[in-house]
């Protein structure tokens, strides 16, 4: 079991790094779908005190549905039909982003070690590292990319990270569902609203480039 979970986490890290250097929107969306599925699967393979039960599995299915199919599907459609220019248009370049992602990993390792929590098993430590990295990378995408759609992806990634951290931290049964429930709700709500707004933005601005949206300032 430990083995599998480590592999999954490594896959997640890989997808994070790839997404940071990806310059194609379409590739990014596909990467997100992949990441969503993997992230959803993490609790299943994690050693928990109660083992795998039905509830956990149901949540897994739900998460896969949302993270792996629904949201990427929506975005796929958006990229396909809405976005004219499929370049990602970075503010901070790909290499720099990638480099930032690597620093992010180092940082998260440092943080995790620094926490020195006796109750962490090795896999939980890696989970924590991955979670923090994913969240940080999400934030980097949010800050470093110009397209509104990339920002949504960044947000998704951040949410994935939070989910991982939550999984690492909350291992009691009654809190575990809380994590799943909360993240799901967050995703659905936020992405739904963002989607609607994105749609309107596209109608109004003929593009989803956020640099066009700098009118409101002092």
């Amino acid at each position: 079991m430990i083995h599998i979970s480590n592999i999954l986490l490594a896959l997640i890290l890989l997808s994070v790094l790839l997404s940071l250097r990806s310059n194609r929107l379409m590739a990014l969306v596909k990467l997100m779908a992949f990441q969503g599925v993997v992230v959803s699967a993490v609790p299943l393979v994690l050693e928990t005190s109660h083992g795998v039960n039905v509830n956990l599995f149901l949540f897994f299915l739900l998460l896969v549905l949302v993270k792996g199919i629904l949201i990427p599907g929506l975005m796929y459609r958006a990229v396909k039909w809405v976005v004219v220019d499929r370049e990602i248009e970075p503010i901070i370049g790909y290499h720099a982003s990638l480099f930032a992602g690597l620093i992010m990993i180092v940082f998260s390792v440092y943080v995790t070690n620094h926490l020195q929590l006796a109750m962490f098993s090795e896999s939980h430590k890696l989970l924590m590292v991955t979670g923090i990295t994913t969240m940080g990378a999400g934030l980097i995408l949010l800050m470093a990319r110009r397209k509104a759609i990339t920002q949504v992806i960044g947000y998704l990634m951040m949410e994935n990270g939070i989910y991982l951290i939550g999984t690492a931290l909350a291992k009691q049964v009654h809190t575990q569902y809380v994590v799943e429930f909360a993240v799901l709700l967050d995703l659905i709500v936020a992405v739904l609203v963002m989607g609607i707004v994105l749609n309107d933005i596209n109608h109004t601005f003929d593009d989803v480039d956020t640099t066009l949206m700098g009118q409101l300032k002092d």
């Binding site: 929590l117 109750m119 969240m135 934030l139 949010l142 509104a148 920002q151 947000y155 951040m158 949410e159 939070i162 951290i165 939550g166 931290l169 909350a170 291992k171 009691q172 809190t175 809380v178 994590v179 429930f181 909360a182 993240v183 709700l185 967050d186 709500v189 936020a190 739904l192 609203v193 963002m194 707004v197 994105l198 309107d200 933005i201 109004t204 601005f205 956020t210 949206m213 700098g214 009118q215 409101l216 002092d218």
Partner: protein, 476 residues
Amino acid sequence: MLQLVFLIPIIAGIAVFFLPVKIGRMVLIGTAITHLLITALEWFHVTGPLHNKYFSNTPEGMLVLAIMSFLFLFISLYTISYMAEVEMSKEPTFNACMLLFLGAMSMVTIADHIIMLWVAVEATTLMSAPLIFVRRSKESLEATWKYVLICSVGIALALLGCFFIIFSMEMSNIHVPISFSSLSDVADQLNSVWLKAGFIFIVIGYGTKMGLAPMHTWLPDAHSEAPSPASALLSGALLNCAFLGVYRCHQLMHSAGLGDYSSNVLIAFGLASMLVSAIFILNQTDYKRMLAYSSIENMGIIAVGIGIGGLAAFGAMLHMIHHSLIKSSLFLSAGNILLGYGTKSIDKTRGMLRLFPKTGMSFFAGFAGISGFPPFGIFISELLIILGAIQAGRYVAVTIFIFCLILIFAGASRLVMQMIFDENKEDDRLVPETWARALPPIILLLTSMALIIWLPDSLYQTIQSAISSIGGTIHG
């Protein structure tokens, strides 16, 4: 029973989506009145206390709920006449979202479960986004995008904070429901590092929603681009709800013996907010943005007051009440100004005293109130915060506090005086003012005035019990 405060608006809101405009308006008013009634029943303990896994009626929650309910009635009355004037095609959506927004906010006020609170705050973002977005202009879209994205990021961080708090509980092997009331009882056993981390993330998360600098960036855009009734509701009610989240967490920190830490954090954020709003109120060109920055300032004041505690905490609670009343009134007046002049530019809205005497008067009175002149309540609350701060020996904080107040007053009074008193050669009024739209802001101001002359005992008791949990005392 108490759950009705959010159930009824939500049901009514969903209904309004599908009802014709006229009936929708009736439902809006009807729900507002019902909501106020339920709140009143709850306020006077007719319905009895509520304590279950998810909800509980805390004094601070009741306080926020009562303000919100009261505001909502007058804002909805104003909305009817405002919407009739602007002839918005999406009026049902707007009315429905108003109600849903009310429901979500009501849920925040009574939520006790950490995650339930978070869910409710999240819901307020969802419900209020359409309110900002309803005009679908480029600016409003931009504002909505910023609002949704920044607040979502913030709230996601708050979720992480919640996880940290839950984890701090697990670290100490405590098994209680993860609600603020039960956690407070065992707070001293919680792991302090994780609790602190949780507090940071929650303050940053809910602080984003509350408009604390430097997470405030969405606020001026959203508040200025939303239609005025929505701005009034955002400023008067939503900010309080977000504040409630921060406050709950501060309470928890206080019972865990980490009150000093959380106080310092709150004061730092509060002062930063005041400074930021000072920067932008000077030389502001848009009066709604000016009001929005003023909201940031006042949230900062409340944060500072709560952080200082003691007498200042009482001041902060009073400040919250009066800020809601006065700021909503100002935003409603701003709506009238916008209707009348058709522009948000301060330069083009001169001579209000002559062209729109009623609005001009209520706008100026509101401004005097927000600047801390009697007979409005902010006079007392600011005085109490200053007294409390010095009593607590926070001299640096009080220096910055006063410095910012002076700067903001200097900046805002120039703009407001320009709007109201300056000469205006032109005579065209796009929309003449009517009592229907002039009265709600005036009533809100009168309420603030009344509360400074006579504060009902129950209100006083509620404030007292709300601040007693952070060691806020009124005497000494």
